[in-house]
């Protein structure tokens, strides 16, 4: 039932491989065989460490999402420059995980078991923007805009540079400043 160290490593290698295949060839290309090949392990390993293809795929998506949640939740959004850097890295070097995360959102639509994971992401976004819950309305709007921006970056690749990203962030912050009750 428990795993040997080497087993644990193989399991992790398979999860990483899922993200790479997903990033490179899309969700449809994630199969037992492609993942095993990508991870450099025999086919049977992919069925040994995971019940299902579903189990393998979901485990990878979940792990990626959790990483992003802790990453964003632990970030102070006050310094727009560093946030811009974070987002840029997120969309380039870490693109596989970013895709996995939104792929999970997509699946959550149809599968109740994933709702909690999806909500955790939205919560992390709002927490990062306003850790103390000072201005809920403003925070909600900013979170929506930030989410929209992230997807736009992912889908259209635009804004593509750190500078442009910072500018877009600044627009969001500045345009949501005023508004009394």
């Amino acid at each position: 039932m428990s795993l040997t160290p080497k087993g644990e490593a193989r399991r992790a290698a398979l999860l990483d491989a899922v993200l790479r295949v997903l990033e490179r060839e899309g969700p449809g290309a994630v199969t037992h065989r492609s993942v095993a090949r990508e991870a450099g392990v025999p086919l049977a390993a992919a069925t040994y460490y995971f019940d299902d293809l579903d189990d393998l795929y979901l485990s990878a998506l979940r792990r990626a999402t959790e990483e992003q949640v802790t990453l964003f939740a632990g970030t102070d959004m006050a310094d727009l420059r560093s946030v811009a850097h974070l987002i840029h890295r997120w969309a380039t070097e870490n693109r596989g995980a970013a895709l996995a995360q939104y792929e999970l959102m997509f699946l959550a639509m149809r599968r109740d078991a994933l709702r909690a994971d999806a909500e955790a992401w939205y919560g992390a976004l709002e927490h990062a923007i306003d850790p103390h819950g000072k201005n809920p309305r403003q925070t909600r709007v900013r979170a929506l805009a930030l989410d929209g921006l992230l997807l736009r970056i992912l889908w259209l690749g635009e804004p593509s540079t750190v500078d442009e990203t910072e500018k877009a962030l600044r627009e969001i912050v500045e345009e949501t400043r005023a508004a009394a009750t």
Copy 2:
């Protein structure tokens, strides 16, 4: 080369069927056979009217996206109540098309041929919010927030009622009011 009236009808029936299968079972379930069954036509019809499975799938996504683009582009966002109704319908009765539209965004990430379609959607959003280009900065932020809201509705089903949707819209508008240059 040209199509008979009946042929045209069958072609359209297949495109509709794609959206229904996509909505019900997800992108992976869209196959020649499932679509043909859904449309009530023999398998061969799905290969006769479309070069490829790819052609069939993309044609359906494109048609859905174009419909949504004209729908939103032709809407004045001034009356939040009616916009809330529009969005609610979009996410419920018209859910298949909504999904198709964002599925296209997702594919556009990896396929240059779809970029124009994806950008058309973003353009339509901005145009609907501010037809005359009066305040580009505010419009960009509002469009991002609206896009974020639409995805949230699609993915988490929340806000789920027309009233809640209207409230969320109002928040976006009110929180992006001020900001001088």
